[in-house]
Structure formats: C-alpha cells, structure tokens
C-alpha cells in the first residue's frame, strides 16, 4: 500500500473511532450533560459534583432538595408521593449558600419550579459569598454548553472505563437510583463509637467565653440576605427551609471554640428574616434533644442516619416542627437550654470529665 493511501486510511480509521467514542459517551452520558437516560436505564446519581450541573440542565423536575451532604440521604420519592411532584436533589458538599444559589438560579432557568426544600446549614451562613463551582481544577464542560469544552468529557478514559460501567452496574443493581440519589449511607457505620472518633474533646477549663465575632456579622448578613432575596424574588415558588439536627459533638465543639454567642446570633437573625417571607415555611430540628444527644444517630459530628432524614420529612409534612412568629422565642430559648444541657451533662455521657 502506498504511504499516501495508508495515511488516508489511518485518518479514516481514527475518525471512525473518534465518532464511535463520541456516540458511545453521548448515548450513555454518565454526567447527564445531554439527556436523561435512554433504553429504560435508571437515573443513577452517585457523584454530586460531576452530576448535579448536568441533571439541572437535562432532567425534568418541578421540585428541588437543596443542601449539603446531610441532605443527600433524604428519600426524594417520599416528597414526590406526598406532594405529587418530581424532585431533583441539588447538593454541594460544603452547603455554601453562594454555590447552592448558583445552582438554584440554573434550575429556575431550566424548569418552572414549584417547591424548594432547603436543608440550610447554619455553618454555611458564615462561608464566603464567592461561587466556587468553577476554577482551574474543575472541568469547564460541567458548567458550559460549549461543545468544544466537552472534549475532555467525551474523550476521557475515566468516563469511558469507570463512570459508564459504574452507572450501568448501579442502574441494574438499583443503587443510588430513584429517591436514593446521592445516598451515601449504605456503606457507612453509624453509632457512638464511630461518631466519637471525629471529635477529640479538649480538657475542661472552666466556662468558655464566647469570642468576638463582630467582624463576621457583615458576611453573615450577606448570606442571610442572599437567601431571603432568593425566596422573595420567586413568590410563585413554595420554599420549605429545614434546619438539620447536628449532634451534641458539634454543639460542644462550637462551645469550646467560643462560638456559642455566634450561633445564637445567626439563628435569631435567619429565623426572624425567614418568617417575614410569605412563600416560605421554616422547620427547626436543631433543638431535638432526643436526636442530638443520642450519638447512635450519627457517624461523626453532623452526619446522621437516613432515619433522621425521614423524621425531618415527616415533621415537615405534618408541620410538627414549624417555626412561627409566635413560637420563635420559645425555640430560641430551647436552643439555649439544650446548649446548657449538652455542655454541662450531655457531652459527659460519652466523654469523661477531665
């Protein structure tokens, strides 16, 4: 064969293989950049940072669950059946308000949302307001619709040889599908022994004074303002804001680090502001003493079992933990009482007094 002819054949072969790869990745599309799954495959969601942007663009939904990793174990099928809706989970591990609002704005652009369930972490209200979803280490293809940006997605060995086989296997084995999108609880151990490994309680040194946080107030204010303006700018959407129950380890850790006054301030500010929003209901689980003070519900300082997630959804549906202008003072007092109990008694049920 002449070399010129051989070169043409080589180019044709390479082109054919290129198109085969493009077609294969487009067809199975593990990050859902282009479409919902074909051939009756289930929606498999197991890789939040890579999959959330694509699902916002490609899926059909009218409700979203917004939150950090503590929101991942919510069974969204419960919401679907209770409220007769189609739910998508939008998760950012840090729970950063700026990042979640960025995602939520995309969701508003793509779909006509009816409900937003926001599992709001109070530690996220002290985070910087910069969106951290695009940067040098984050692939551009996730957030753009430019075909050229998709080259590293389509021609990517990890996508072809890891993500696609994993997606197919999970689809057939029914893992991370349906209401259990991003659910990480299956291979985790919960219990006091495991949770306590996440917190080395320092030696007691008398009463800890709260540290001055006046320099953080502006940032806290910005975060709260962003949440409130999001809610107010979409009066057609019903917002359900939940405050998740962190373990007593988290509360004690906050106390020994002088954060007690700050937590109180944040809660007072955010709750009173939220109560001014007509299209939002607020459900408060942080002061659930029976849950918070039982470390068997946890795997570390903040992550709890899926049963707690379900308890929260039940509470929301039944309105048992709803905050109103009338009971706000009572709830804030309960938080302070719980705080006192945890630092004086609750924590010593697990750690020795030193």
């Amino acid at each position: 064969m002449e070399k010129k002819k051989a070169l043409k054949r080589l180019c044709l072969l390479i082109l054919a293989l290129f198109f085969a790869v493009i077609f294969f990745v487009w067809l199975l599309d593990p990050f859902y950049q282009y479409h919902e799954p074909f051939f009756g495959l289930k929606k498999v969601l197991y890789d939040r940072d890579n999959q959330v942007p694509g699902t916002i663009r490609s899926f059909e939904y009218d409700t979203v669950i917004l939150g950090s990793s503590v929101a991942e174990n919510f069974d969204s099928s419960f919401i679907d059946s209770t409220y007769d809706c189609e739910t998508l989970k939008i998760i950012r591990a840090s729970g950063s308000v700026a990042d979640l609002l960025y995602y939520l704005e995309q969701a508003h652009e793509e779909q006509d949302l009816e409900r937003v369930f926001w599992c709001l972490d109070i530690f996220a209200l002290t985070a910087p307001m910069e969106v951290t979803l695009y940067g040098e280490d984050i692939p551009r293809y996730l957030h753009t619709e430019n075909v050229l940006d998709d080259i590293p997605y389509i021609f990517n060995k990890e996508v072809i040889m890891k993500k696609i086989p994993m997606m197919l296997a999970y689809s057939f084995m029914d893992i991370n599908t349906g209401g259990h999108a991003y659910d990480w609880s299956a291979d985790k151990t919960f219990g006091a022994a495991k949770a306590m490994t996440a917190y080395a309680k320092p030696e007691d040194s008398g009463t800890v004074e709260s540290r001055d946080f006046s320099s953080e107030k502006a940032l806290i204010g910005q975060n709260i303002e962003s949440v409130i303006s999001e809610i107010k700018s979409h009066p057609e959407v019903e917002y359900t804001v939940m405050f998740p129950p962190y373990s007593l380890l988290w509360w004690d850790c906050g106390y020994v680090n002088g954060e007690r006054e700050k937590y109180g301030y944040i809660l007072e500010q955010v709750l009173s502001e939220l109560l001014e929003c007509e299209n939002a209901t607020v459900h408060f689980f942080m002061a659930e003493k029976d849950i918070v003070c039982n470390l068997d519900n946890y795997m570390d300082m903040i992550h709890y079992t899926p049963q707690i997630n379900q308890y929260m959804l039940d509470g929301v549906a039944q309105g048992t933990h709803e905050v109103t202008k009338d009971n706000l003072g009572e709830i804030l007092t309960k938080v302070e009482e719980n705080f006192d109990y945890i630092i004086s008694e609750g924590i010593y049920e697990y750690y020795p007094k030193k």
Partner: protein, 487 residues
C-alpha cells in the same frame, strides 16, 4: 505546552502544520520561517511566558557571538569571543540550574548560612544551551556558516526539539530548512511522521505513565520496601524512563517528519546493550555525540594514552551527570557510568562469552545506577540499596501491586470485589506482570521506524495504530509531565 495534551494534538499541531505549508507556497520562505518561530515561542511560553526571556536572552547572546566571529579575523580575538560565549552560556546554565545547589553545598560544607530564593528552572535550558554551545564552537572553528538571524532562531526554537531534545546540530537542521523540496508536503514522510508520533504518544501515555504510578508510589515509601518490591520498583523506573524519554523523542521526530525535517535518532534499543559503552551508543545518542565532540575529543580523546583516556571518560561522565541535574545523586550516577567505561577501557577482553549474559549484567548495572539517578538524595539511594540487597521478601510486593488502579481494570476490580475478593491480590499481581511483560517485550522488539516500514501500511498495522491513538487520546486527562524537561 505538552505534546501529550488535547490542545496540542487538536489545535496547535494542525494549526502549525497548516500555517507552515500554506506560507511555504509564498515566494519568500521567510514568512513560513517567522511563522514557525512564532509558533515555537508560543509553545515554549505556554505555561510560563517568563521563560521566553531566558530563551531570547540566550538566543541574542549566541547569535551576537556568531556575528562577531564573522567580523573578527584575528585568532586571539576569536578565542576571546568564544570564551565569552562559553562563559555566558555556562553562566546562564549555572545560575538557573546549579546556583541553588551551589549555595546549599556552601552552607553544608563551609557552615555558612546563605539563604536565597529558589530559582525556577526554565524548561529545556540544558538542551538549548548545549545546542548553542555546539553552534558557537563550530562558528569559532569555521565549520558553521553565517546563518541569517531568522534561520538561526528557527533552528534553536524549533518546537519539537526545544524542551527535551534530541540535541540537533545546525548542520542537520538548517540545510533542510532552506531546501526547496521541503516546501511541499512529502506524503511519504508525513505518513511516517504521523505513525511515529502516535507510537511515541502510546509509549509515553500508555506505558511510561502507568509505570510511573508504581514508581512514584514506591519511591515515596522506600523505607517500607522489601527486597522483591525494591527490585521491581527500580526495574519499573528503568522502563518508565526509557519509554518516557524515547516516547517523547519519537513524538518529536514524528512531528519533525510532518514538517519535512529529519531529526536525529536518540535511542536504539538501549536496554539491549551488551556493555555500558554500548549502552551509551544507544541511549540519548545526541547527548553522547555532543559530549564526545565537544568535550571528550578536545580533552584529547583516546589519543594520549590509556590513563588520559580514562581521565577524559570520567570528566565526560561527570559533566553528563551534572547536566542531568543539580544533585549529588546525578554526580554519583555519572561517575559510576564513567567508572564502568574506564573498566571496559582497561579490560576490553574481560567479557562474558554469551551475549545474553552480557546484556543481563549491563541491564542490572544500568538499572542499579539509574535507581540512584531517581532517588531524591544519596541518603534515599543508600536506603534503597539496603532494601535491594537485605530487604528479603516480607510480602510487600502484593501491596505494591495494588497501586495499579487503572480505569482499564476498574470494571474487573469492582466485579471481583463483589464476587471473589480473595482474587483481588492475584489479579493485581497479574496486572503488574502483564505490564512488565509488555514493557520488556517492547524493549526487545523492533524499533518504531522499522516496524512502521514493515507493518505500518497493512490494515492490521493501521488499525493497531488507530486504536493506540484513541486509547492514548482518551488517557490524556490523567498523564504526568515528561521526566526529561528539567534536564
């Protein structure tokens, strides 16, 4: 910019080729040459534009020497120009490459406390400095003509060879740059170039980078290695270095052919060498050529008796060691190769009768010395050698094989985890043996160009190369940088 990057393959290279051949159609070839220089400078300054300043400074300095050689006829003054040129080149190299090392050693041996900011090493500085030293020496000896500035800049900055060689001589490159026949695409040569580039890409991405996973993990844990795993680690490193550097050179030569240039060969089955002397005839051949022509022969070569020959060999390998890096490990590595060359010069007949045994012993010696080359310090090298010879077999090898977590094996690993977890370790071991087996088989196999000539045009050959290309291309998002950039 890296050859093994999506941007280079899909955008830079096609653009460079298209511009080069289109501009060659104009009557004046200077446009094509200026375009090529522009593309080369873009290539060089892609990650750090500041490196361009060093390259341009070096270019102007050396071309200035060349101009002076043309104007100055008096021998004494010519010598002064040469001395100045050499001083500036070596000075530049010393400052960027060795100054930190020099200060560290001053502090250590003289108990001083000098502290300076770490000086960043510009990419490929050793390559373009040596290339230009050879040019000004040739200009001094009047064996190089007075090239135009554009031709000279084209020669030094030509991107396929700029940052990791091969070290091209002006007499090899510049006549081809001006040749009329090169102004049209030579499809025969273009085909060879494409094939060579793909085979080089495969060597780098699919072999060297896979071996690098093991090597990097184990060199970070030398203290935990047992004898077996230490030997496997250093063999993996030898193979990684070979496939990494020879893969890069194949890509460089392949791109050269696409442009119509013949860059010199840099490797000729070096791991099949039957002696250290033979190894250096096959490994990094353009460096050996430079050191022989510009250091060994001017020192007297082998013309002044056995002892001076031995001295010259040691000097050459000391320079070679230092050229590779500013660390005592490179110095010791160079001296050990020099010592082996001296031994072979003193006892040329003391050899095994069986070629296979000579190959094996040379391979072991070279692999052991390159273990020092790879070590971060002499202390780490010492520890590695202790593990090699006294580490025994503690079963660490099985754990070492577990580092081979590649996307290619992911589905099998997950399936085994669920169905037969007891088979995971044997599976990883089989992967390691397979990887080593393929690498060693390729070391013994035909050179890339011979294979292209014999099998490249068959359907089987073309399909193999097309699959290799796609496999390497989809692997590009997770590849490491080239080992020879910092030399």
């Amino acid at each position: 910019m890296l050859f093994n990057s999506v941007f280079f393959i899909t955008t830079f290279l096609p653009l460079a080729l298209l511009g080069w051949y289109l501009l060659q159609q104009l009557n004046n070839p200077i446009y094509a040459k200026v375009f090529l220089v522009g593309m080369s400078l873009w290539f060089y300054g892609y990650y750090n534009p500041w490196y361009l300043c060093v390259l341009l400074l070096s270019l102007f300095g050396n071309y200035g020497c060349s101009v002076l050689f043309e104007k100055v006829r008096e021998q004494k003054k010519r010598k002064m120009v040469l001395a100045l040129g050499l001083f500036v080149n070596v000075g530049l190299l010393f400052y960027f490459k060795y100054f930190n090392f020099f200060i560290d050693n001053c502090n250590y041996f003289l108990h001083t406390d000098i502290s300076i900011e770490k000086i960043a090493l510009p990419l490929g500085i050793s390559f373009f400095t040596f290339q230009q030293i050879s040019f000004i020496i040739d200009r001094y000896q009047q064996t190089a003509p007075d090239y135009t500035f554009v031709d000279y800049v084209c020669f030094v900055t030509y991107f396929p060879q700029l940052i990791a060689g091969p070290i091209v001589l002006h007499s090899e490159f510049l006549p081809e740059l001006s040749a009329r026949k090169n102004r049209k695409v030579d499809w025969e040569l273009f085909f060879d170039g494409v094939m060579l580039f793909i085979l080089g890409l495969g060597k780098k991405v699919l072999l060297a980078d896979m071996l690098a996973v093991v090597v990097n993990a184990e060199f970070a844990n030398v203290a935990y290695l047992d004898g077996v795993s230490a030997w496997v680690t250093i063999i993996c490193y030898m193979l990684e270095l070979y496939f990494d550097f020879s893969g890069y050179c194949d890509m460089a030569r392949g791109i050269g052919k696409m442009f119509g240039f013949h860059l010199p060969e840099n490797f000729n089955s070096p791991l099949m060498a039957t002696s250290v002397k033979d190894f250096w005839r096959r490994w990094h051949m353009t460096l050996s050529r430079f050191l022989t022509t510009y250091i060994y022969i001017p020192l007297g070569g082998n013309r002044q008796g056995k002892w001076k020959k031995c001295r010259n060999l040691l000097v050459v390998f000391l320079v070679s060691g230092l050229w590779h890096g500013a660390n005592w490990t490179f110095v010791v590595w160079g001296l050990l190769h020099g010592a082996a060359m001296v031994w072979e010069a003193l006892f040329p007949k003391l050899r095994f009768r069986q070629e296979a045994l000579s190959r094996l012993c040379t391979g072991i010696y070279v692999t052991l010395t390159f273990a020092i080359f790879r070590s971060d310090s002499l202390a780490q090298a010492g520890q590695l050698f202790r593990q090699l010879f006294t580490g025994g077999n503690t079963g660490f090898f099985a754990g070492m094989c577990n580092t081979l977590q590649f996307p290619e094996t992911y589905a099998v690993v997950k399936a085994l985890e669920m169905v037969a977890p007891q088979l995971l370790n044997p599976f990883y071991m089989a992967c390691m043996l397979l990887l080593l087996g393929i690498a060693l088989w390729l070391v013994r196999g035909k050179r890339a160009e011979v294979w292209i000539e014999e099998k490249g045009r068959t359907w089987k050959g073309l399909t193999t190369v097309a699959i290799l290309f796609i496999w390497a291309f989809v692997s590009l998002s997770q590849v490491s940088t080239f080992l020879y950039f910092n030399f």
